[in-house]
C-alpha cells in the first residue's frame, strides 16, 4: 500500500521534470557526425570524382539498391557512366561506405528523404555527387594509386618509388 502511494507521488513529480521529446520539425535533433543517413558521392581535393566504378559497393549492398556502369576517360581514369541508388530500398547500413576503396561513397547525417512519388526515391549520379570531399579532406585516390593516368606516370604517386627494371643486373 505504501509503495503504491510512493509510486503515485513519484509519477506526480514527473509533471515538472524536463520532457525528453524533441519537437522535430521545429527543433532539429542532434545528429552525430557519423550518423548513417543519405548517401553521397564525394570528390577529390582537385574537384574530380573519387568513384572509380569498382562495383564493390553494389556487390556488398545487402538490398541491391546500387547500380552503376564503369567507363573510362581518355587519360585512363575510371569513372561511373551512371550511378543510381534506389533509396526506397536502401537500409542505411553503411556497408557501401566500408567497402569503398576510394572513400567516394559516404553516408551523411541527413535523414529527410521523404518523397510524395516513389520514383523520386531513385537518385541518379547528378543527385548523389556533391562538390566537397566529405569526411576525408586530403585523400586523393589517383595520387596514391599505382595506376598510370595521363599526367602521372608509374612511380610518380605519393610514397611510390620509381619502377625497377627487373632485367637489369645493376644494383
Amino acid at each position: 500500500m505504501l509503495s503504491h502511494l510512493r509510486t503515485l507521488w513519484t509519477v506526480l513529480t514527473h509533471t515538472f521534470t524536463r520532457k525528453d521529446t524533441v519537437e522535430y520539425p521545429e527543433t532539429m535533433p542532434y545528429m552525430a557526425p557519423r550518423y548513417r543517413g543519405r548517401i553521397v558521392l564525394t570528390r577529390d581535393p582537385d574537384g574530380e570524382e573519387r568513384c572509380v566504378a569498382c562495383n564493390l559497393c553494389a556487390a556488398v549492398c545487402p538490398v541491391d539498391c546500387i547500380a552503376l556502369q564503369k567507363t573510362e576517360t581518355d587519360d585512363g581514369r575510371w569513372y561511373p557512366e551512371f550511378f543510381r541508388i534506389n533509396f526506397s530500398r536502401c537500409i542505411m547500413c553503411g556497408m557501401c561506405e566500408e567497402a569503398c576503396p576510394t572513400y567516394a561513397i559516404q553516408l551523411i547525417p541527413d535523414f529527410e528523404l521523404a518523397e510524395y512519388r516513389r520514383s523520386n526515391m531513385v537518385y541518379e549520379k547528378s543527385h548523389l555527387l556533391i562538390d566537397g570531399v566529405g569526411k576525408y579532406p586530403d585523400y586523393s585516390f589517383w595520387q596514391v594509386a599505382g595506376k598510370a593516368i595521363h599526367g602521372k606516370d608509374k612511380g610518380e604517386a605519393e610514397r611510390e618509388s620509381a619502377p625497377v627494371n627487373v632485367r637489369s643486373l645493376l644494383p
Binding site: H4, T7, L8, T10, V11, L12, H14, T15, T17, R18, K19, D20, T21, E23
Partner: protein
Amino acid sequence: MANETLQLLMIVPVLAGAFVGALLLVWWERRLLGFWQDRLGPNRLGPFGILQSVADAIKMFTKDDWVPPFSDRVVFTLAPTAAVAGMLMGFAVVPFAPGLVIVDLNIGVLFFLAMTSLAVYSVLLGGLASNNKYSLLGGLRSAAQMVTYEVFMGLSIMGVVMLAGSFNLSAIVEAQRSVWFAVPQALGLVVFLIAGIAEAHRLPFDLPEAEHELTAGFHTEYSGMKFGLIMVGEYLAVILTSAMTVTLFLGGWLGPEFLPPLVWFTLKTTLLICFFVLLRASLPRPRYDQLMAFGWKVLLPITLLNLLVTGALALWWRDGGVPVG
C-alpha cells in the same frame, strides 16, 4: 409547469457538456499521461492539441464499421449503446449547482447505482455477442468484477445516506455544509473511489480489456463508431464517477464564496479526473484472482465495518446521547 419545462431544457446543456467533456478527456488524458512519462503528448492540432479529439472522432466515423459474420448481430450492435445510454442517464440526477439538476429525484443515489449497473450490460453482452474467445473471457471477467464491486459501491454510499438522512443528492450536498463527508466517511470515500474505478473498468482495474492478455477484451471485435461509443461510454463513466464522488463526499458545489457553485463543482470534478488518470499512469494491473480476493476479503469487511460504526454513531446522536467519557 413552466419550471418543469425549464428543468427539462437542462438536458441540452448537460448532454452537450457530457459529450464535450468526454471528448476533451480523451485528449487531456493523453496529454497528462504524456507529461507523467516525460513526453509532451498530443500538442499539434489546435491550441495545445485540443482538437486532437476532433481528429480522432473524424477518423472513427470514416473507418470501416465491420460486424463479424459469426457474431450475434442485433446484440452486437445494441451493446455499445447501453454503455453510453446508461452513463448519460446517470447524469440526470447529478446536482451541478443549487437547482441546476435535470430531475431532483428523492432516490437519486439509487437511480445513479441502477444506471451505472445498466452500463455493465454493454460489456457483458458485447463480449458475449462477439463470439470470440477473448471477448468472452473479457465479458466473463467484467461480470465477476462488476458483481463484486457493485456490492460495496452501494454499501459504501449507505454511510453517507445515513449521515445525510436522505437519498436525494441535493440534500446530501446541503448536509455537507458544516463538514464534507470525506472526513467522517473517509473509508467510504476510499472504497467508493476504488469501486468507481472498477465500475468504469479503468486502469488499474481494466481486467475486462487487459490488452496484454486478452488482445482488447470485450471490444476486440468492435470497430468504427461502435468502438468509439464504447470509448465515449468509458470516459463518460470516468466523469460521472468523479462527479458522484464530489457530490457524495467532497461537498458537491459547496466552496468559498468567491467562485460560483458551478465552478467549484467543475473544479473538484476535474481534479478528481486528473487523479483517475494519475492512477492509470502509475499503478500496475492486479491479477484476476487478486482483484476478486481484494474485493471480497478486504473491501467488503471494511465497508461493513464502516457501515456498522456509522450506523451506531448515527443512532447515538439521534437519541441525543452524549459521547462516552
